[in-house]
Symmetry: C2
Subunit: 125 residues, 2 copies
């Protein structure tokens, strides 16, 4: 991913109110939540929330689609994983301190259990 996009996503998530919105939407799943419900859930004014949604949308982290008179916003999980992968690449070049704990976390059974363990290429031949 491009550096600019990474910066956009980092700063989009770097405000508590927006991080709250994003986390709520990730947990809500692909169906998303209507803007009004998000505002009610998080206790934000509708117009303030709209500004946050704009920032998150522009960063590609969420996507809004109209549903009747509401607009449902859904997280774009791959946008976060792209960002994470981008950050992880900083540690490449034989420096595993960053990736190792991430790998461990990703491998933990309580976080994202891989439904279908693909054929795993052996680590060192």
């Amino acid at each position: 991913m491009e550096s600019k996009a990474a910066i956009d996503r980092l700063s989009a998530l770097a405000l508590p109110a927006r991080l709250d919105v994003f986390r709520l939407l990730v947990r809500a799943g692909p169906h998303g939540i209507a803007a009004g419900e998000i505002a009610a859930e998080l206790g934000q004014a509708p117009n303030t929330l709209s500004a946050q949604l704009n920032v998150l949308s522009a960063a590609g982290l969420i996507l809004g689609t109209r549903d009747g008179r509401s607009i449902r916003y859904a997280a774009q999980p791959q946008a976060l994983s792209e960002l994470i992968v981008y950050l992880m690449e900083d540690c490449c070049g034989g420096r595993p301190e960053v990736c190792a704990p991430v790998q461990a976390a990703a491998a933990r059974a309580d976080c994202c259990p891989p439904a279908k363990p693909k054929a795993r290429r052996p680590v060192r031949a």
Copy 2:
């Protein structure tokens, strides 16, 4: 990790000049780089760079130690991995879209090859 610390790290990295500094330091390894060399390398004014270093330090992403008349700054890779793990936990609860690509990236041989593959707990018993 705490939400406030995560926000601090996100916003510390959300400025191109600072992300450049951090990436440079991660690649430089534990020995770190003197502030002046960083400034020269990235073409930043010394006092401006000092402000960036302060922000990154306050966020726990880098650590400066005096070495003669220079101060060497070294990345704290675990600070980044803590942040990444924090972000990844958003996807927990049976929603693997975020973690799966991260897991794949972490497992790629060209990024952080696990030197000693630990005993791997089977994925599903």
